[in-house]
């Protein structure tokens, strides 16, 4: 399979949900067409009810399209054999709550006809990968927190070492650490040459990991393209430098104004909240007891 090979091909896909009497109730998806190439991380974005999950379920054959056509890895959505190379993480981790982590992965491994040795080896590897604590692995899933359930959900999606991974809201329910782990995992999958299709309404997550995105609204495709191109502000220029003196900043402002620049703002860059959180956790681990409180009014 070459790098430019199309892994997912969607043509004019529509889905109308009907009521008990067969009358159209809501058009969840309207004439969606897009291609996803091998090795890219593709993000489906949109507010709640925009048709992201419906698209994913149509791709997986869980729903039937009202119109249009879908090809995944060259096969139709209804073809079960396509699932050999697909991993799927549902929006909620709909796993069997009475199984423990090992039993869960063993069960899904059997569905891929893996041998006992393969299942054992793969399970250990995946549980380490998703960082599920060893002492939790023998507990039934009904005792897991949402984050732990999400981790085991990811592990089951990767049990078969899939070529195509579909993740529905992968960071939902995860704390910032888990969130970062998930994003690292997605980037790692990309590095391995796997194709990832993820749905999310958390824009920062998508921005961090996706090569291309499509934004859906009301079941229709509104925007599609490379993330860096879509986010590039064509009518602005950004200059970054190490910390300058006040005099140097003033001088630069004068130069910019001389060249006709408007809305000039010279200040220090800020990190994202996620970066700050991760840095704090990291420091807390390294220096227990250390506090860095800048707003004294918030401390009682």
């Amino acid at each position: 399979m070459s790098q430019s090979e199309t892994v997912i091909e969607i043509r004019n896909l529509s889905k109308v949900y009907r009521d008990f009497w067969g009358r159209p109730k809501v058009r969840a998806l309207n004439a969606l067409s897009l291609d996803i190439k091998k090795g890219e991380v593709f993000g489906l974005l949109g507010p709640n009810g925009s048709g992201k999950t419906t698209t994913l379920k149509l791709l997986l054959g869980l729903l039937f399209p009202t119109e249009g056509e879908v090809k995944i890895l060259g096969k139709s959505a209804a073809d079960v054999s396509k699932n050999e190379r697909i991993g799927y993480l549902p929006e909620e981790s709909y796993l069997y709550r009475f199984l423990n982590a090992y039993e869960t992965l063993d069960f899904y491994g059997r569905l891929f006809d893996m041998t006992a040795a393969q299942r054992k080896e793969r399970s250990e590897k995946l549980l380490d990968l998703v960082k599920l604590a060893p002492q939790s692995r023998r507990r039934q899933l009904k005792e897991y927190s949402k984050g732990m359930t999400r981790r085991i959900g990811v592990a089951q999606a990767l049990i078969n070492d899939p070529d195509l991974v579909m993740l529905d809201e992968p960071t939902s329910g995860l704390d910032p650490l888990g969130n970062r782990d998930m994003k690292d995992l997605i980037l790692d999958l990309k590095a391995q040459g796997k194709t990832v299709l993820m749905c999310s309404h958390l824009l920062a997550d998508v921005q961090d990991v996706c090569d291309r995105i499509a934004i859906l609204y009301g079941g229709e495709l509104k925007v599609m393209g490379r993330v860096d191109e879509l986010l590039k502000a064509q009518d602005e220029t950004q200059i970054r430098s190490s910390k300058l003196s006040e005099a140097a900043e003033k001088e630069i402002q004068e130069v910019l104004q001389r060249h006709g620049a408007t809305n000039v703002k010279v200040d220090q860059p800020t990190a994202s909240l996620e970066d700050l959180f991760l840095k704090t956790v990291q420091e807390s681990r390294e220096r227990p007891g250390h506090r860095n409180v800048t707003d004294n009014q918030s401390v009682s």
Binding site: G61, L62, F64, Y96, L99, E103, F107, L111, Q140
Partner: protein
């Protein structure tokens, strides 16, 4: 109430035909409903989808993976155990702890009491395992769909057929596990309840029934039956005493295997006595048994034997018998070239009658151990569980759990003897008052069942709809199993062994008849529906 084993015996050829009819009818229903459903939901393209899915199923059958089926089986099994299905043992334990208090004196055991013990154990086991299996099989898949756990399965390479099969096997296995534990406990309980001196009552008689019974009337002419003495149960015909009237049994394939260890031929009977005058009530009625060989014109008559009313009676005939000073071998001289043995029974007492039916006289082979029959009866319950599992699982692929449970229960209820026989009467027009609509009309108009209906076009329509409904009932009658086939516990509690050829094997055949349509139904239901909880 008498136990009539013939009622339970199945002719293997009829079983095969039954198998074909059940498979054919059920398959037709499943395919028809699936196609209608597809056309309703997807319009004209539904026809194409139907044939695609049919082809897909054939492909899937060749790609079935035992490992995947076993994975789903284990999942079902684990789920049932962890959801406390085994709590049924608590009820079972309580029943058996205190049952002995209410079941009579254990110091002096009578044959009927043994029957009660065996019947209690087998009935309890049936009625505890059936609901457990019913609930498990009807709620498993709908719960999977409701919680969307099934999404993580169908997005793996698991075929829909494998999901259905895995569920069926898993639930049946858990049912069998519960059944086996209860059966072992039940067996020990029965043996423990019966004192050592009465243990001989725990036995499995092995009967060989005559293939036909013929009657001869008081004049010595062949008759369709004996005399009707007004018994409302027409099971038996009565033979008038001290006349030429007699009943003739024909036993086939008579050979050495039917003799006991001493070389004797044992006949057991359960004839009933009917007195036309009171007489001496302490004196039993008498009958004699005659072995005849029409080819050699030979006849051997036993001494008069008393009728054991309401109990079984054993008559032993030695292999070597003497007639007019000449010794004859029963097997060589009385068994015809076609390996048939003809036996006649007549009543000796004048103006008295002895009631006989085909199953009232049989050759009793050497008895088998009680446990053999007991475990065959358990097999009968296991087959019933399998049947309920198959029906329940396939129903649960189409509708929600409670509806599937009600549907399966109704099918089981209709399969019970009386209900199934009532369906037979309706289907074959043996019930007075006409069909459904006609009956309603008669009820509303206060018309008796024998009153003629007015001849007008409305009744043509009524008759037509009744005809349609009757044909639908015919279909139901054929697709609803007759649970009496599986009623092997009846044999054991009545002291008989369960015959392989006429009971167990035909039951297996009937069960197997449901496998194909039920799996087909499950496959189609899961393929053509969107697996979203709604």
């Amino acid at each position: 109430m008498y136990f009539d084993p013939n009622e339970y015996l199945l002719n293997p050829i009829i079983s095969v035909l039954n198998w074909v009819v059940v498979v054919g009818c059920l398959t037709f229903v499943v395919l028809f409903v699936s196609m209608v459903n597809l056309i309703a939901t997807r319009g004209a393209s539904g026809v194409g989808v139907f044939f695609d899915e049919l082809g897909g199923m054939v492909t899937d059958l060749f790609q079935l993976s035992p490992r995947r089926i076993w994975a789903l089986t284990r999942l079902t099994y684990t789920e049932a155990i962890r959801r406390k299905a085994l709590a049924v043992f608590v009820v079972f334990g309580l029943l058996f702890m205190f049952a002995g208090w209410f079941m009579g004196d254990t110091k002096e055991i009578k044959p009927d009491q043994v029957k009660v013990y065996i019947s209690f154990v087998l009935t309890t086991i049936s009625w505890l395992t059936l609901p457990v299996v019913l609930i498990l099989c009807c709620f498993g898949i709908p719960e999977d769909i409701r919680l969307r756990s099934i999404h993580t399965v169908v997005t793996k390479p698991a075929r829909r057929v494998e999901i259905v099969l895995g569920r069926m096997i898993g639930i049946w296995l858990i049912g069998c596990l519960v059944l086996a534990v209860m059966a072992i406990v039940g067996h020990f309980w029965i043996v423990r309840q019966i004192p050592a001196e009465s243990q001989s009552l725990l036995t499995c008689r092995v009967p060989v029934y005559g293939t036909r019974i013929d009657f001869v009337d008081r004049e010595g002419n062949a008759a369709k039956s004996g005399v009707n003495v007004g018994d409302i149960w027409v099971f038996r015909s009565y033979i008038e005493g001290a006349t030429k009237a007699r009943a003739q049994w024909t036993f086939r394939n008579v050979g050495e295997s039917l003799l006991d260890s001493d070389g004797n031929l044992n006949f057991e009977n359960s004839f009933s006595a009917f007195r036309s005058y009171k007489g001496d009530m302490t004196r039993p009625l008498f009958y004699d048994i005659r072995l005849i060989n029409p080819e050699k014109n030979l006849a051997y008559t036993t001494d008069p034997q008393p009728v054991n009313e309401f109990r079984h009676k054993l008559d032993t005939i030695p292999r070597k018998v003497t007639i007019d000073g000449t010794q004859y071998d029963i097997l060589k001289d009385f068994v015809t070239d076609r390996k048939e043995l003809h036996v006649e029974v007549s009543c000796i007492d004048r103006e008295q009658y002895i009631g006989m039916a085909r199953s009232d006289l049989f050759i009793r082979m050497p008895d088998r151990q009680f446990w053999m029959g007991y475990w065959k009866a358990i097999l009968g319950i296991a087959l019933t569980l399998l049947l309920i599992t198959m029906i329940g699982v396939s129903a649960s692929t189409m509708v929600k759990g409670p509806i599937a449970a009600v549907l399966t229960f109704v099918i089981y209820f209709l399969s019970l003897k009386d209900n199934h026989q009532f369906m037979d009467q309706l289907v074959f027009g043996q019930v007075q008052g006409g069909g459904f609509l006609e009956s309603v009309y008669r009820l509303v108009m206060h018309m008796g069942p024998s009153q003629e209906l007015p001849a007008n076009p409305a009744f043509v329509v009524v008759k037509f709809f009744d005809w349609v409904l009757n044909n639908f009932l015919w279909l139901c009658r054929h697709v609803i199993p007759y649970s009496q086939y599986f009623n092997m516990p009846e044999f054991v509690s009545n002291g008989f062994d369960v015959p392989w050829d006429t009971s167990i094997l035909p039951s297996l055949l009937v069960t197997s008849a449901f496998i194909i349509p039920c799996v087909l139904m499950g496959y189609f239901a899961l393929r053509i529906r969107e697996l979203e909880s709604k």
